[in-house]
Amino acid sequence: MSFWRQALAVAHKDVVAELRSREIITSVLVFAVLVLVIFNFAFTADVATMTLIAPGVLWVAFAFAGVLALNRTFIPEKEEGCLEGLLACPAEREAIYLGKMLGTLFFLLLVEAVVLPIFALLFNINVFQIEILAVTALGTIGFTAIGTVFAALAVNTRAREMVLPILFLPIVSPVIIAVVESSALALDGGGFSDMAVWLIILISFDVIFLTVPFLVFSYVIEE
């Protein structure tokens, strides 16, 4: 009980602080929309070709915007010296992880909820299909789950903004590939059964990325 209470306290604290400062949401949103606008001008193809490249474009925006968000997950804690304050609490390190992960997941899902209609408008593609929304949510969960661990790892390094994408993006690439391939199939008119293989890969990596942090986070967050 106290595990969830502490995890939700961390997530709630992050959400309240972020809704006041809007540091993460604003920068991530602006970045993601800029990427979409640039790609929209870069590619002037027919609808069929756009449908092919659209999932990739969308996840380039989500992935790099997501790295920005993850970079800010622990930096404010470090800058305000609050990370030590959290470590001094009688909380399981995994509860701190879960709280930070849930907070970042909330921000990314919020950003995606704004970016998806803009994407649909710019690329004239209907992304509001249950298949695409489901794989986007699954991809975001896997991305955030393992990304939060790498964000904690990077925060104690000097070149933390560079360390995170270099370490994290190769690890999370199976999730991104699975989401892009699943989304492409969905845009091509396929259903969940058509994307079964990619869905299995995606869900498997989600499970792994949600399990590994519970085994390693205490070693990562403590010096």
Binding site: S2, R5, Q6, A9, V10, H12, K13, V16, A17, R20, S21, P76, E80, G81, C82, E84, G85, L86, L87, A88, C89, P90, A91, E92, E222, E223
Partner: protein
């Protein structure tokens, strides 16, 4: 330290290294319950490292620490519930109000009624009128009082303060010790300091750290400003 009373804190062969640099070199000491212990030492002596290691924010390289009899290696999480820590940094979130900060830490420390306890603490540290203001708008003295409130939110049996007088005027400092005496006179307190006179006004035991070792310790009648000053110069080679 006081070997007669059962210890609130006990360190056995405590070593803490950063890379090849040994900051704490095999410390052995006991702090009895209800004792107010002042830790002195020049910069780099290991005072902050000692406080953070005892508070289980840092892991010892070797050796053992017991908090109220709980071995930090095996029961760190439970032991943390016995400790309150006031550091150089306030551990407060600037974007949150005083009340929100305390409620958050109340939840993290497993306080049963965090909002009610927050009201008590805000009253104790004299910040009830500013409870809705963000911590970022607070002066250094107010932040220190709020930080003290944060450390007391779960009624810890042991309080650790790392140079609590930094940035505080004498009036604010006196107010801080008044708050501590009023909240729980029998609490074990460990604090680091550079100011002998002010520290001895509240401490009943003292140690001097020199190069990661306990160079001198005293309690009771032996602990005077003169004995401390002489020991400090003699053991550290530096003037206070």
């Amino acid at each position: 330290m006081n070997s007669l009373s059962s210890p609130a804190i006990e360190a056995r062969g405590l070593v803490k290294s950063f890379g090849n640099t040994k900051v704490l070199r095999g410390l052995n000491f006991r702090v009895g319950k209800g004792v107010t212990l002042a830790i002195f030492g020049p910069n780099g002596a290991g005072k902050t490292t000692l406080i953070k290691t005892l508070a289980s924010v840092m892991r010892p390289t070797s050796g053992q620490v017991f908090i109220d009899g709980l071995d930090l290696k095996e029961h760190a999480q439970e032991a943390r519930g016995h400790l309150g820590l006031v550091s150089h940094q306030s551990y407060l979130y600037g974007a949150l109000s005083a009340e929100e900060n305390l409620v958050f830490y109340g939840r993290m420390y497993g306080v049963a009624e965090p909002r009610e306890r927050t009201r008590e603490i805000l009253s104790l540290v004299g910040l009830t009128a500013r409870r809705h203001d963000r911590a970022a708008t607070f002066s250094r003295g107010m932040l220190q009082r709020l930080s003290l409130g944060r450390a007391l939110i779960h009624k810890p049996s042991i309080l650790m303060l790392d140079e609590p007088e930094t940035g505080l005027d004498p009036q604010a400092l006196a107010s801080m010790w008044d708050i501590l005496r009023h909240d729980a006179p029998s609490r074990t307190i460990i604090f680091t300091s550079h100011n002998f006179e002010r520290a001895l006004a509240v401490a009943n035991e003292a140690i001097v750290l020199g190069r990661g070792k306990i160079a001198w310790s005293a309690q009771g009648d032996v602990l005077t400003l003169t004995s401390l000053s002489e020991a400090y110069v003699h053991t550290t080679g530096e003037h206070p």
